[in-house]
C-alpha cells in the first residue's frame, strides 16, 4: 500500500499555488490525505492499468483491467463514504488551498464514481459485438485490408480502461479545484484521455477519428480561452485562488476590464466543456462519432464535472459580482435551450438528437447554476445526478440497436422497434420521457426543483423560456416514441442485441434510479442540499 501511495502521489497533478514572491525555501503544505484519498486511489489505479498494458498478455487484459478499475472505484467510494462522516461541516481545504473537499464535492464525486462503473461495464461489453465497441488495433489505417481483418478480431484496445480512470481522476479534481490553475490542469487531465477514447470506435473508424480530431482541436481552442481568462484574472487579483478573486472584486478599485474580460474568457472555456450553446458545436459530431459507451461516459460524467466546476467558480469566485454578469449568462442559457430544443427537431440520427437534447439540458442546468443560493446549488446537483443516470442508460440502449454495419442510429431504422423488441423500446420510451421531464420520472423533479430555485431568485422570465423550450424539446423525444410504436418496421431493420448480464444490470439500475428519483426524490434531495461550497 505504501508503494502504491508514493506512486500515486507521483502521478498526482501537483497544483502550483502562485507564490507571491520567489521564496528561498518552499515548505510542503499540509495535506489531508483522507480527504483526497479517492482521487489518489483512482489515479493510482490508472497508473497500474498502464503497467497492466505493458506486462499482461493481451487475452488477459480486459478482465484484469475491468476488475482493477471497478475495484479501484469501489475502494475509492468506500473511502469517500467513510470520509463523509468525519468531514467537518464546512468542508476541508487542503493541498495549499488547491482542493476543496466539501459536501457538494462529495456529492459530485460519488455520482461520478457510480456512473463511471456503469460506463466501464458498458465499455467492457463484448456480447453486443464481437470484440466489443473498441477497435482491435488503433494503429491500423482505416479502410485498408488490415483494417478489415482487424474488424473481425475478438480483441480491443484495453487502454480505454486506464484512460477512463485518468479522465475520472481529472473530473474529480476539476469538481474540487479551489484555484484556477488546478482547475486548468484538471481540465486537461480529463480532456486528453477523452480525445483519445473518442477515436477508438471499431466500426466507422473515419467518423470516429474525425470526431476525436474535432474534439481535440476545439477543446484546445477552448482551453486557450480558459487559460487567457485565467491570466487576466491573475492580473486583476494577483492570485488564482477563487476566494482571493472574490475578495479582490469585493473591495478594490482595480481595472474591472481585467475582471470581466477574464471572467468572460474563463466562462467560455467552462461552457464549452458543459456543451452549453453556442459553445456546443462539437457536441453532435463527437457524440455521434465516438464509441457509444464513451459517448455515454462523456454525456453523463463530463457534464457533471463541467457543471460542478461552473457552480464552484461562479459561487465561490464571482458571487460578489453576480448582478453584473448574470444577465449575460441568462442570455447564454436561453440560447442554449433554444438551440438544443429547436435543432433537436431536425435531427435524423438518434445520437445527434440526444446530443442536442444535452445542449438543451445544459441550458436548464445553467439556470440552476446562476441562482447562487443554496436552493440553486442543491437543485443543480440533483439535476446532474438525475441527468447522469438517464443519459448513461439512454446511450446504453442506443448501443444495443444494431444491424450488420454496426449500430443503427438513423431514426428511420428505429421504426417499429416496439414490435421487434418491446422491452428495449419500452425502456427507451421511458428514458425519453424522463429526458422530456414527464412526472414520475427523475427528469420532472429535476426540472421542477431547478425552475423553482430560479423563481425564488427572481428569474421568472427565464423560467418561462425554459418551460417553453422543454415543451418544444418534448416533441422530438415523442417523435422517437411514435416511430418505435406506431410505425411499420423496416424490411431490413436492425435487430436488438441481447447484452450480457452486467450491461443489463447497469441499464436496469439506471432505469430504476430514474424512476425512483421521480417517485421519492427526497433521499437524494436531502443529500444534495446537505451543505454548500467551502469558502476560503
Amino acid at each position: 500500500m505504501s508503494v502504491l501511495a508514493t506512486l500515486v502521489t507521483a502521478a498526482q497533478p501537483v497544483p502550483v499555488p502562485a507564490p507571491p514572491a520567489p521564496a528561498a525555501t518552499i515548505t510542503q503544505p499540509p495535506i489531508s490525505y483522507p480527504a483526497i484519498m479517492p482521487i489518489l486511489i483512482i489515479l493510482g489505479a490508472a497508473c497500474v492499468g498502464v503497467l497492466f498494458e505493458a506486462f499482461l498478455p493481451r487475452h488477459n487484459r480486459i478482465a484484469a483491467q475491468l476488475v482493477l478499475s471497478v475495484l479501484a472505484i469501489l475502494v475509492a467510494g468506500w473511502r469517500l463514504l467513510s470520509y463523509a462522516d468525519e468531514m467537518p461541516e464546512t468542508g476541508t481545504i487542503t493541498l495549499g488551498r488547491a482542493l476543496a473537499v466539501d459536501k457538494p464535492t462529495l456529492v459530485l464525486w460519488a455520482t461520478l464514481l457510480v456512473l463511471t462503473i456503469g460506463a466501464l461495464i458498458l465499455m467492457a461489453d463484448r456480447t453486443v459485438e464481437r470484440g466489443g465497441y473498441f477497435v482491435a488495433d488503433a494503429a491500423v489505417r482505416p479502410g485498408t485490408v488490415q483494417d478489415r481483418a482487424q474488424a473481425g478480431r475478438g480483441e480491443m484496445q484495453t487502454e480505454v480502461f486506464p484512460l477512463a480512470l485518468f479522465a475520472l481522476g481529472g473530473m474529480m479534481v476539476f469538481c474540487a479545484a479551489n484555484d484556477l490553475l488546478t482547475m486548468f490542469i484538471a481540465l486537461e487531465v480529463l480532456s486528453l484521455p477523452l480525445y483519445l477514447m473518442c477515436g477508438l470506435a471499431r466500426r466507422r473508424r473515419l467518423l470516429s477519428q474525425e470526431a476525436a480530431v474535432k474534439y481535440f482541436l476545439l477543446g484546445a481552442f477552448a482551453s486557450a480561452f480558459f487559460l487567457y481568462g485565467l491570466a487576466l484574472l491573475y492580473g486583476y487579483a494577483g492570485s488564482v485562488q477563487l476566494s482571493d478573486i472574490a475578495n479582490a472584486a469585493a473591495g478594490t478599485n482595480r481595472s474591472e476590464t481585467l475582471l470581466f474580460g477574464g471572467l468572460g474568457l474563463l466562462v467560455v472555456g467552462l461552457l464549452f466543456k458543459g456543451s452549453v450553446g453556442p459553445f456546443h458545436t462539437w457536441t453532435p459530431d463527437v457524440y455521434q462519432g465516438a464509441p457509444t459507451p464513451v459517448t455515454a461516459f462523456m454525456g453523463a460524467c463530463t457534464k457533471i464535472a463541467a457543471f460542478g466546476g461552473i457552480l464552484r467558480v461562479l459561487s465561490v469566485g464571482f458571487g460578489t459580482t453576480s448582478w453584473e454578469w448574470r444577465g449575460v449568462l441568462w442570455g447564454v442559457a436561453i440560447a442554449s435551450m433554444v438551440i438544443g430544443a429547436v435543432l433537436g427537431l431536425t435531427q435524423t440520427d438518434v445520437k445527434r438528437m440526444v446530443a442536442y437534447s444535452s445542449v438543451a439540458h445544459a441550458g436548464f442546468l445553467l439556470i440552476g447554476a446562476i441562482v447562487l443560493k443554496p436552493a440553486g446549488l442543491s437543485a443543480t446537483l440533483f439535476y446532474l445526478v438525475t441527468y447522469g443516470f438517464t443519459t448513461l442508460a439512454t446511450f446504453g440502449v442506443i448501443g444495443l440497436v444494431r444491424n450488420a454495419d454496426g449500430e443503427a442510429t438513423h431514426l428511420s431504422q428505429w421504426a417499429g422497434l416496439a414490435k421487434r423488441s418491446p422491452l428495449v423500446a419500452g425502456t427507451m420510451a421511458f428514458l425519453l420521457l424522463a429526458l422530456a421531464g414527464i412526472p414520475l420520472t427523475s427528469g420532472f423533479v429535476g426540472k421542477f426543483v431547478v425552475f423553482q430555485a430560479a423563481l425564488s431568485d427572481g428569474m421568472a422570465p427565464l423560467v418561462v423560456v425554459a418551460v417553453l423550450a422543454s415543451a418544444v424539446a418534448a416533441f422530438f423525444y415523442l417523435r422517437v416514441i411514435v416511430l418505435m410504436y406506431f410505425s411499420q418496421p423496416a424490411e431490413d431493420g436492425p435487430t436488438v442485441t441481447i447484452p450480457n448480464l452486467w450491461t443489463t444490470g447497469v441499464l436496469t439500475v439506471c432505469v430504476l434510479v430514474t424512476l425512483f428519483l421521480g417517485i421519492a426524490p427526497s433521499l437524494v434531495l436531502d443529500w444534495t442540499s446537505s451543505g454548500v461550497f467551502a469558502l476560503q
Binding site: L265, V268, T281, T346, Q452, A471, F486, Q488, L525
Partner: protein
C-alpha cells in the same frame, strides 16, 4: 356575486374508509403494471383483470361516497397525506389526496363510466390481437385520471394531467397501420403541450408568489388577498390555457376530432366522458382563484361561448359519425366552461352538466361504436340509413342519449343545460344577452346536427344495401353482443334519469357546496324561468324541424356534394381552425428551425466562404459550403465568445 362561501376551506385529516382513498388509485395502477409488464402470459385473462380492478375501484368509490355523505358538511373536505414527494428548501410538495365532494363525484364518474366501458371493450376489442395491452393502457388512464382529480396540490394534479395525456396519445395511435392515427396522436400531443405549458407556468407563478402549491394553502392565500389582481388574472388565463388544451376548447380544439382515430371505447371514455372534462375540473377546483378575478372569469366565459358555437356549426357539416359526436363534445364542454366561468352562480351547474354529459355522450359513443361494429368499421353516415330495424337495442339506447343531448324536456340534458342558459342570462347587461344568446343559439344548432345524424344513420333508405365496404365486404348489420349492449342500456338509463335525480332539489349542487361554495341565485335575468324554458324548447323544436326539412324528408346522396355554399365549406374545413394554427404556430416554428439550422450549419462558414468566393471570383468554392468543418465550429464559438465578452463589458461600462 363575490361571496366566497365561508368555511369552504376547513380541511380535516382523512380517516375511516376515506383514509383508504389511495386504494382506488392503486387498483387500476396495479392492473396497468401487470398487464403491461406481464407480457403475453397475461393474454388469456388480461381483459378480465383490467375490468376487475376498475370495478373494484368503483365499489370502493361508492363506499367512500356513502361514508362521506354520513359526515357533517364541514367534515367532508378531507386531506390524506401519503408522503413528502419533493421536499426541498422552501418548496414542500406533499404527495397526498384531497377527498372531498368534488373529487368523490369525479371518482364515481371515472370508475363508474370506466367500468362500463371496460366491459364494453371486452366485446368491441375481441378480435384485436393486442387486447391485453389495450386494457393495460385503459387501466393506466383510469389510474392517472384518478390521481388528477384526487391530488391535493397543483403538482399532483399535473402528474395526473401528464399521465392521462400519455395514455391518450397511446390510445389515439392504437391502430398503428393507419398513418392518420399516428398523425392524430402527434397532433393531440402537440396541442396538449401548448396547454400544459400554460398549466406549468400557472403552477410556477403560484409557487413564486405564495411559496406553495397545495390547494389548501393556495386557496387560503388567495382568500386573504395575497395576490395582486394582475397576478390573479395571469394565473386564471394560464390555467384556462391548460384547460383549453386538455378539453379541446378554442383555440386548441382541433386535436379532439382527430383523436377519434382511436378505438371507439377510447373515444367514449377519454375523449367524451372523462379526460376532456379535466379542464372543467381544473377551473372548478380553482374556484377560489376564479371567484377572486372577475376579468379572468369573463375570459373563461368568452372562450366557452366561442367554443360551443364553433362545435355546433362544424358538427352540422361532417358526415363522419364519430367526428360529429366529437364536435358535439367540443360544444358541450364549451357549455361547461361557460358555466364555470360564470363564477359562484355556475360552478355547480358546470359539474352537473359534466355528469349528465358523461352519461349521454358515453352512451352515444358506445352506440356509434356498435353501429361501426355492425357496419365493418364504416364511419361515413352517407353509407348508413334505415338501421333502426336491424339494431333495435342500439337504436333505443342511442335515441335516449340523443334526446338527452338536445335537451328534450325532463331528460338529463334538459336539467343541466337549461340551468346554464338561465345562469348565463342572469349576468344582466350586454353579457347576459351575448352569452345567454350564444348558449340559446347552441340549443337550436345542437338539435339540428343531432337530428341530422339520427336521420342519416337510423332512418331513410338503406343505402348500405347497394354498397360494399372499403375492404370489399358486403354490409350485414347486426345487433352487438350482450357484453356491449348492457353497458349501453345502463348509460341510457343514466341519460334518462340522472339529470332529474341530480338537479331536482339541487341534490348535486348542495352536495358539492363544501368544495364549490353555495350556489348563488341568479338575479338579473331578463326572462323568468318558465319563459326561458319555453324559448329553449321552441328552439329545440325548430332545430329538429329544420333537420327534417333539409335532411330527413329528402334522400341522402351517397357521395358528398361538392358544390355547397360557403358556410358549409367553411364548416367542413373545421372553420379553418387548422389553417389558423398553421399560420400562427406551425409556419413561424418552421422558419425559426430553418433559420437556426442555417446558422448552425452554414451561417458563419457560409459567410466566410461566400466572401472568399466573391473575392476570388471562383464559384467553385461555393459548392464546398458543406457542414461539419471544424473551422466553422470554431468560428461559431469565437462569435459566441465575442458576444459574451462584449455583453459583459457593456453591462459593466454602459
Amino acid at each position: 356575486m363575490m361571496n366566497l362561501s365561508e368555511g369552504a376551506e376547513s380541511v380535516v385529516a382523512a380517516s375511516g374508509s376515506l383514509g383508504g382513498a389511495w386504494l382506488v388509485v392503486l387498483l387500476p395502477a396495479i392492473g396497468a403494471l401487470v398487464l403491461l409488464a406481464g407480457g403475453k402470459r397475461t393474454n388469456a385473462w388480461g381483459h378480465l383483470l383490467g375490468c376487475a380492478t376498475v370495478i373494484a375501484a368503483f365499489v370502493y368509490g361508492v363506499v367512500m361516497f356513502f361514508a362521506s355523505t354520513g359526515l357533517d358538511a364541514g367534515q367532508r373536505v378531507q386531506n390524506l397525506h401519503i408522503y413528502d414527494w419533493i421536499p426541498v428548501n422552501a418548496l414542500q410538495v406533499d404527495f397526498g389526496f384531497r377527498v372531498d365532494p368534488l373529487s368523490l363525484t369525479f371518482v364515481l364518474l371515472i370508475t363508474g363510466v370506466g367500468s362500463l366501458i371496460h366491459i364494453y371493450s371486452i366485446g368491441y376489442m375481441a378480435e384485436d390481437r393486442d387486447r391485453r395491452r389495450f386494457f393495460g393502457y385503459l387501466n393506466l388512464f383510469v389510474a392517472s385520471m384518478l390521481v388528477l382529480v384526487l391530488g391535493n396540490s397543483f403538482v399532483t394534479l399535473y402528474l395526473g394531467w401528464e399521465g392521462v395525456g400519455l395514455a391518450s396519445y397511446l390510445l389515439i395511435g392504437w391502430y398503428q397501420d393507419r398513418p392518420s392515427a399516428a398523425t392524430a396522436a402527434k397532433k393531440a400531443f402537440l396541442m396538449n403541450r401548448v396547454g400544459d405549458v400554460g398549466l406549468a407556468l400557472a403552477i410556477f407563478i403560484l409557487f413564486q408568489q405564495l411559496g406553495t402549491t397545495q390547494y389548501t394553502e393556495v386557496f387560503a392565500a388567495v382568500g386573504d388577498g395575497r395576490l395582486s389582481s394582475g397576478t390573479l388574472l395571469a394565473v386564471t388565463i394560464l390555467l384556462l390555457l391548460g384547460a383549453c388544451g386538455k378539453s379541446g376548447q378554442f383555440p386548441l380544439q382541433a386535436w379532439l376530432p382527430d383523436a377519434m382515430e382511436g378505438p371507439t371505447p377510447v373515444s367514449a371514455l377519454i375523449h367524451a366522458a372523462t379526460m376532456v372534462t379535466a379542464g372543467v375540473y381544473l377551473i372548478a377546483r380553482s374556484n377560489p382563484i376564479y371567484s377572486a378575478s372577475p376579468d379572468g372569469r369573463l375570459i373563461v366565459v368568452i372562450i366557452g361561448a366561442i367554443t360551443l358555437l364553433i362545435g355546433c356549426v362544424i358538427g352540422c357539416a361532417y358526415d363522419d359519425i364519430k367526428k360529429v359526436l366529437a364536435y358535439s363534445t367540443v360544444s358541450q364542454i364549451g357549455y361547461m366552461i361557460l358555466a364555470v366561468g360564470l363564477g359562484p352562480i355556475g360552478y355547480g351547474l358546470g359539474i352537473l352538466h359534466l355528469l349528465t354529459h358523461g352519461f349521454f355522450k358515453a352512451g352515444l359513443f358506445l352506440g356509434a361504436g356498435s353501429v361501426m361494429h355492425a357496419m365493418n368499421d364504416e364511419v361515413d353516415m352517407r353509407k348508413f340509413g334505415g338501421l333502426w330495424k336491424k339494431m333495435r337495442i342500439t337504436f333505443a339506447t342511442f335515441t335516449c342519449g340523443y334526446l338527452a343531448l338536445i335537451g328534450f324536456p325532463l331528460l338529463s340534458g334538459y336539467w343541466s343545460k337549461d340551468a346554464i342558459i338561465e345562469a348565463a342570462f342572469s349576468q344582466g347587461g350586454w353579457r347576459g344577452w351575448v352569452f345567454g344568446g350564444a348558449a340559446m343559439l347552441g340549443v337550436a344548432l345542437t338539435a339540428f346536427y343531432m337530428t341530422r345524424l339520427m336521420f342519416m344513420t337510423f332512418f331513410g333508405e338503406k343505402r348500405w344495401e347497394k354498397l360494399k365496404s372499403t375492404d370489399g365486404r358486403e354490409f350485414h348489420p347486426h345487433e352487438a353482443p350482450a357484453v356491449m349492449t348492457i353497458p349501453m342500456i345502463i348509460l341510457a338509463v343514466g341519460s334518462l334519469g340522472a339529470g332529474a335525480y341530480l338537479a331536482i332539489n339541487h341534490t348535486l349542487v348542495d352536495w358539492l357546496s363544501p368544495t364549490l361554495g353555495e350556489l348563488s341565485e341568479a338575479h338579473d335575468s331578463p326572462f323568468s324561468t318558465p319563459v326561458l324554458t319555453t324559448i329553449s324548447i321552441a328552439l329545440m323544436v325548430i332545430g329538429v324541424g329544420l333537420a327534417w326539412l333539409l335532411v330527413g324528408r329528402k334522400p341522402v346522396p351517397v357521395e358528398k356534394p361538392e358544390r355547397v355554399s360557403f358556410p358549409v365549406r367553411a364548416a367542413r374545413r373545421d372553420l379553418y381552425g387548422n389553417a389558423l394554427n398553421e399560420v400562427l404556430v406551425a409556419r413561424p416554428g418552421t422558419w425559426l428551425t430553418r433559420f437556426l439550422v442555417f446558422l448552425d450549419n452554414r451561417g458563419v462558414d457560409g459567410a466566410v466562404n461566400g466572401i472568399a468566393a466573391v473575392f476570388g471570383g471562383g464559384s467553385g468554392r461555393l459548392r464546398r459550403l458543406q457542414t461539419g468543418f471544424v473551422r466553422s465550429y470554431a468560428l461559431t464559438m469565437l462569435a459566441g465568445s465575442i458576444l459574451v465578452l462584449a455583453a459583459l463589458l457593456m453591462v459593466r461600462f454602459s
